[in-house]
Subunit: 200 residues, 2 copies
Amino acid sequence: MNLSVLIVEDEPLIANDIREICLEHGINVAGIAYSFSQAKDLLETQSVDYVLLDIKLGDNDDGLVLGKLLHEDYFIPFSYVTSFSDSSTLTAARSTHPNGYLVKPFRSNDILIQIQLGYDISLRNVKHEIPTLEDVNKKIADGLSTREYDVLVEVCKGKSNKEIADALFVSMNTVKSHLKNIFSKFEIKSRAELLTMLLG
Amino acid sequence: MNLSVLIVEDEPLIANDIREICLEHGINVAGIAYSFSQAKDLLETQSVDYVLLDIKLGDNDDGLVLGKLLHEDYFIPFSYVTSFSDSSTLTAARSTHPNGYLVKPFRSNDILIQIQLGYDISLRNVKHEIPTLEDVNKKIADGLSTREYDVLVEVCKGKSNKEIADALFVSMNTVKSHLKNIFSKFEIKSRAELLTMLLG
DNA sequence: TTTATCATCACCCTAAAGTGTGAAAAACCA
DNA sequence: TGGTTTTTCACACTTTAGGGTGATGATAAA
């Protein structure tokens, strides 16, 4: 799964530094925004999975406003990457629901941790219904095929292999074959584990 | 809100350092554990809201085991605080669902951020929990016994009968026996159906 | 056109799950 | 104390699930 990260940072040197770190680790960079408005433009036009967000853009705390927007309107998870760690800034930041908070100067790996862990956290939140193919594929490196997903949906309904075969008009061997691939891709060994992953 | 933090760290100097930082910021320290077993003792006896967890305890990665336990059994949120940020350690750590990951050496404020942000995140995660015994019994005429509920909880975690037997310190036949009764009371035929009923 | 990938299925085999019966301690309660 | 429920376990048995290998036609990409 290839994440797309948006970098919102008014200092070009730092922004570039972050971009390099991402690219080195195979993380796609959806763009760099040097201001609040540029960030909004990119959010409208690009596919963004995670945002690294500087609190201070220019002279004001536009980062906090953008953070609030990300959480409430765009539903895109983000980490703050900022020089400030005083308690008033931190309190303000916490209220915007970031998934991470990195204080500058940072190390190369810190960026990676923010993105990966922050994204993990965002995946843990929503549940309850049978996930879509897109949601499922975010959890695994090698995505499911459409037919594999069909089988997964039936498993989520609590059906046995025989019942799934009847529902999809294929043989039970075919169902088993798809399930084998599903388990392999999720790196699990049973449908029970699959159910707890997807519904739990 | 006065948080209670457990520090799991095998180096006394670092552990003390973290303790001082917490106390300076009005965060209560539930205790310091220098080993896996000490950590388990403290988790049983103390009220703990958040855990700062070193991955390497002594010579092995007991921190990861403890992290898994915290997430699956204790339901206590935690951050790793470790010297390691290589990708294999990170991958292993991510699979245990930490709410933060801090690489040593850290700054004073980093500790505070981990605790506050990590705890914030845990509050947002109103996750789809394993239902309580009361909730479960609302769905069926003949209620489950406490031991049957214990088995049900393990099933909800995706465990196999053998794993459940080990977790509850009984034989696999006993687990099967309880499961038989559970299925009968729910009028179902498989654990998959049980999982979709409870989690779906 | 050649190469992948996907969807389908068969066959065989092992492991795990589930069923039926029965039974003996332990805990609970009246 | 005596009866009931719970918890524990055994053994034998059937069914289902899961793993390995391999093969086919179809479709898609290069």
